[in-house]
């Protein structure tokens, strides 16, 4: 661990694969910028791989004041042990006060290993990060300007705010898609620092034999409008209505976990705590009761239309437009109205 260091920087793990920066890293830079400005400290991006310098500028455009470049042929591709070793060394050298990672498959594999080695705290899967004070009544002490690590717990039934006031850095992983992507500023410049790397073959205990990556069938995060169906749609056949409404609006079709489990649509379309988090301009919930796990992935939408035959369905608590009735009647009427207007 490192000691409490209020002058320390705010760091982002700039996850990259095959030379492409992941969206989550850019989303995190937006929030790190906000946290850094609030604390009056610099924002650093930690970029690890081989021949990475070309990517560093992009990280500056998205908000980094400094980019720590950790380059070595053994650092490409990602491996848990090699990455955690070089991060461990870098944290001890520069003593950042905060370090955040994406809660991606890679980030959730890496961050706990780093936290364990440093003996620092780590909060998983945050949906919000803020700066605030914590009053420790037992000690009669106020800890100022801590990272408030906000996350759902207990299957989404509670929201917990976690802090770490003594064993720093304060570390967290953050869900993909919960923080808005900042606008890049092409003229923004930063300091690019190429670090000396000490890494040996022993730090690479894993041999990667084969890998298969596939594109997701739908990009829910990038869509301005999402039309999602739930178990209430009734059948795969009837799910056609969701597709038709979605097509009429140029939207992306989404679904609840229940609809996915029932085989109405592919898992790539799942919105919610175990699926994708979306924040579109318009979210249309068709035959969705609104379980808390689903709401966790869509309640930040700017406008929500809910269609359900049960007036008590919890989805109506978050809806701006409530349509109580049979979706088989309402959805075709909506399609007709849209086609008439647009």
């Amino acid at each position: 661990m490192i000691s409490v260091n209020p002058k320390g920087e705010v760091w982002v793990f700039a996850e990259q694969h095959e030379g492409k920066i992941e969206d989550i890293a850019l989303e995190l830079l937006g929030r790190a910028r906000m946290l850094g400005d609030k604390l009056g400290v610099k924002v650093g991006a930690v970029l690890i791989g081989d021949q990475m310098k070309a990517l560093a500028e992009k990280l500056c455009h998205y908000g980094a004041d400094k980019v720590y470049v950790l380059e070595h042929p053994l650092l490409e591709p990602y491996q848990t042990n090699s990455y955690s070793k070089v991060i461990y060394d870098l944290v001890h050298k520069h003593q950042p006060q905060i370090m955040i990672y994406g809660a991606s498959a890679c980030g959730r594999d890496l961050a706990p290993r780093v936290a364990s080695a440093i003996k620092a705290g780590l909060t998983a899967d945050c949906t919000d990060l803020q700066i605030g004070d914590h009053e420790n009544k037992a000690e009669g002490k106020v800890h100022k300007n801590l990272l408030l690590q906000i996350r759902p717990a207990f299957g989404g039934n509670i929201i917990a705010t976690i802090i770490n006031y003594d064993r720093w850095p304060q570390m967290a992983t953050v869900r993909e898609g919960v923080m808005p992507m900042p606008e890049p500023i092409g003229t923004r410049k930063g300091e690019i620092i190429v670090e000396k790397i000490h890494i040996a073959q022993e730090e690479l205990p894993i041999e990667i034999l084969r890998e298969h990556k596939r594109e997701k069938k739908v990009n829910l995060k990038a869509s301005r409008i999402v039309v999602a169906g739930g178990a209430g749609v009734g059948s795969k056949e009837n799910f056609k209505l969701v597709w038709e409404l979605s097509n009429a609006l140029g939207a992306a079709p989404g679904a609840t976990r229940a609809a996915v489990d029932l085989g109405f649509i592919d898992r790539d379309h799942q919105v919610g705590q175990t699926g994708t988090t979306v924040r579109p301009s318009l979210y249309i919930a068709v035959g969705i009761s609104g379980a808390i796990q689903h709401q966790a992935g869509m309640s930040d939408s700017q406008k929500i239309i809910a269609i359900n035959n049960d007036p008590q369905a919890p989805i109506f608590d978050v809806a701006h437009y409530k349509l109580v009735g049979d979706l088989n009647d309402i959805v075709p009427k909506m399609i007709k109205a849209i086609k008439a207007r647009v």
Partner: protein
């Protein structure tokens, strides 16, 4: 060639079946109102270990850290075919976060003979997926997370397929290694009737003590101790005493355990109250729907 497996398991509140009573008015969780279950993905980890034992031989040991009631998941594991079970329980372990938990569990695993350590990917109460990788770091062994298929196990090397979200990866690693297992990996077996009959009487020492106290409310401490010692000896002779270790037995360094060993603290807990919104009920007539669409076009929600 035989391989010894240690599986770290957890008893969790069944967060998938949360009802109104499960939440107190102040937003805290009423754990008493939630049924306790075997963490689902830990069953997949146990199944993978049992599968390794079936194919290659070796021993499967399950270990859990928790309250005395967590002995129940150890019995569940014995019913399914685990050879040995260990409860790590100690009041001083209370309030441990993932870092302290992984330290304590790693102290327990270090006392065992293992080639492969297995965990579920994550537990449904916290969904952190941190304890597995943190244990691997503390044991000084590599980790393979999100295992969806064990491909080969030979000459002290394992190959496995990982689910990396947007695809998969096949990796090879020398043993010992820690695997975290996802629910796609297998279909966990159910309890075997014969083993259930045998192990349903298996108890940890703390369970025996609690039960005797309940049955003999008037007995003195000395009498209770004598009764407990007798019962413990009896179960031990029958092979039905579940091992119970405390932090002294683990020679754990107290600065890394419990509240002191946990850098993360709870600042605040809120129950999820969804903010009331300005909302309107739309007539489901053609006109009502058409007006709504028109409104959404005029405010540029729909372009």
């Amino acid at each position: 060639m035989a391989y010894n497996c240690v599986v770290a398991i957890k008893q969790v509140p069944d967060t998938k079946r949360i009802t109104g009573e499960a939440m107190n008015d102040d937003g805290t969780v009423n754990r008493g109102a939630l049924p306790a279950v075997f963490n689902p993905e830990d069953l997949n980890a146990l199944e993978l270990a049992l599968d390794i034992k079936d194919k290659f031989g070796g021993k499967v040991t399950v270990v859990t850290m928790g309250l005395p009631a967590a002995s129940a998941v150890l019995r569940e594991a014995l019913y399914r075919g685990a050879d040995d079970a260990i409860l790590v329980t100690d009041r001083r372990a209370a309030a441990s976060d993932t870092l302290a938990t992984s330290y304590i569990l790693s102290c327990a695993v270090k006392k065992l003979d293992y080639d492969i350590v297995l965990c579920g990917r994550q537990a449904i109460d916290g969904d952190t997926a941190q304890v597995g990788p943190q244990m691997a770091e503390k044991l000084g062994i590599p980790q393979i997370t999100y295992v969806e298929k064990l491909l080969t196990l030979e000459n002290h090397y394992v190959t496995a397929r990982r689910n990396i979200g947007n695809g998969w990866q096949e990796v090879k690693c020398k043993l010992p290694v820690l695997l975290t297992v996802v629910d796609e990996a297998n279909e966990p077996r159910v309890a075997a009737a014969k083993k259930l009959m045998k192990f349903k009487k298996a108890r940890t020492a703390v369970e025996i003590q609690q039960q005797l106290k309940k049955q003999n409310p008037a007995a003195s401490e000395a009498e209770l101790k004598q009764l407990a010692d007798m019962k413990i000896k009896e179960l031990s002779e029958q092979g039905l005493l579940i091992k119970q270790w405390d932090l002294d037995h683990l020679k754990a360094d107290m600065q890394w355990c419990g509240r002191d060993g946990s850098p993360t603290k709870v600042h605040r807990i809120q129950s999820v109250v969804l903010t009331a919104r300005e909302s309107k009920t739309v007539e489901t007539s053609d006109k009502g729907i058409s007006d709504m669409i028109h409104e959404l076009i005029s405010d540029k929600t729909i372009s």
